[in-house]
Symmetry: C2
Subunit: 235 residues, 2 copies
């Protein structure tokens, strides 16, 4: 329960607010620690809190009735999980799961709903972020349709690394298979290729990125497009 807030990385969304606006919201912000695998929202759940990751990552998953899942959005310190509450819907349409453990700032849904009825910098910023997430989902939708598992794995590892601010992190092939919407064996093949080319190194749930430049080259165009988009609205 004891939140170990390192303070190194802070949520860039909140961070880009004007000082006065941040001060106004500060009393509503509660630091929390998110642990790996924690499910913040299940599909259909009422959303009680929204989360602004600092050095953690939250994955938004779409799930089918046959239990196959696919990540449709990745939320790091550039964003927030639970944006639908701001849009007036407090039932989650995706599963939100902690993909990278770390700290985050939480806010109650009540507060977010109140902010939806108040114009200002925060309102505007959430509009921009909503658009950015919308953009990310659209791009990954096409990416999942057209690109190979190798390319998508490379893109996904780069995006994860960017958000964690770290080249090494804990993730099993099984977990990644649920994100990429492919079988664990498929992830194994792709990861083997990347490791054989010395772009990554991995073992029993630990992954290290060895060569960011070549890994990015192996990733599809979608990586650059998404990265560019998610920096647009942050000042």
């Amino acid at each position: 329960m004891d939140a170990q807030i390192t303070g190194a990385a802070v949520n860039r969304l909140l961070n880009s607010l004007p000082a006065a606006e941040y001060e106004r919201l500060a009393p509503e912000l509660k630091p929390v620690a998110l642990s790996f695998g924690q499910v913040l929202y299940e599909i259909g759940d009422a959303i009680k809190h929204v989360y602004f990751p600092n050095d953690s990552i939250i994955s938004l998953l779409s799930a089918m009735s046959d239990r196959s899942t696919l990540e449709v959005g990745m939320v790091g310190n550039e964003g927030m999980a639970g944006i639908s509450v701001f849009m007036g819907v407090d039932v989650s349409l995706t599963r939100a799961i902690v993909q990278g453990a770390g700290s985050a700032i939480s806010m109650t849904s009540t507060t977010i709903r109140r902010e939806a009825n108040r114009l200002g910098p925060f309102h505007q910023l959430l509009h921009r972020y909503s658009h950015s997430l919308h953009s990310q989902i659209s791009q990954s939708s096409a990416c999942n349709r057209f690109h190979s598992v190798d390319a998508r794995l490379a893109r996904w590892l780069m995006m994860t690394s960017d958000r964690l601010g770290n080249d090494e992190f804990r993730l099993t092939q099984d977990f990644m298979s649920k994100m990429l919407g492919v079988r664990r064996e498929g992830v194994n093949r792709a990861a083997s290729h990347l490791q054989a080319a010395h772009m990554i190194r991995y073992s029993r749930g630990m992954i290290a990125i060895l060569d960011r430049v070549r890994l990015e080259a192996r990733a599809c165009e979608c990586y650059a497009i998404m990265k560019n988009e998610s920096d647009q609205y942050l000042n």
Copy 2:
């Protein structure tokens, strides 16, 4: 240029506004005729107008550098094209193409931007619609990943039919291949299957749905999920 507004179907988004709010906006609403294949926004274009379809359909496409495309959102009389302007971004991230000719109501981006800074029923309604579109994109993302061309074609035809309010409409296999993100030959196979089962009939760009019940059964679960979601916010 002469807009032939039949008036039968009206945009349900605008239609669900309280009378007073509608009256306030009425001077800004301009009826327009949309012709098949017309490109409303190209990727990267500045958005000058937003569109509220009456009996027309606008498809939002994501395009890759190798020219392959995929529909990420379908906008009919339940929605609006150009929602990103409301979110403060007037550059289009998708291609918007008229998939079904018909009438629509247009509004200038300037007006939409003004409404983003004014709270009220219209503001709230656009929030809800934004969430609904977000939901549709997420679901179709997973659908495109997991479901067969047959199922996706069935779903897509049902969605198109719903929005046009018609069981017969003009569409070539080539066009559909660009929506589903598969080859034209792939659409041919799937359409053959559906025709052999007497669910649809088609010939040279004209498609008729013969058996909605069985076609819906052939479609994946995504159809029902999307249909349900897109009716939620309309009163």
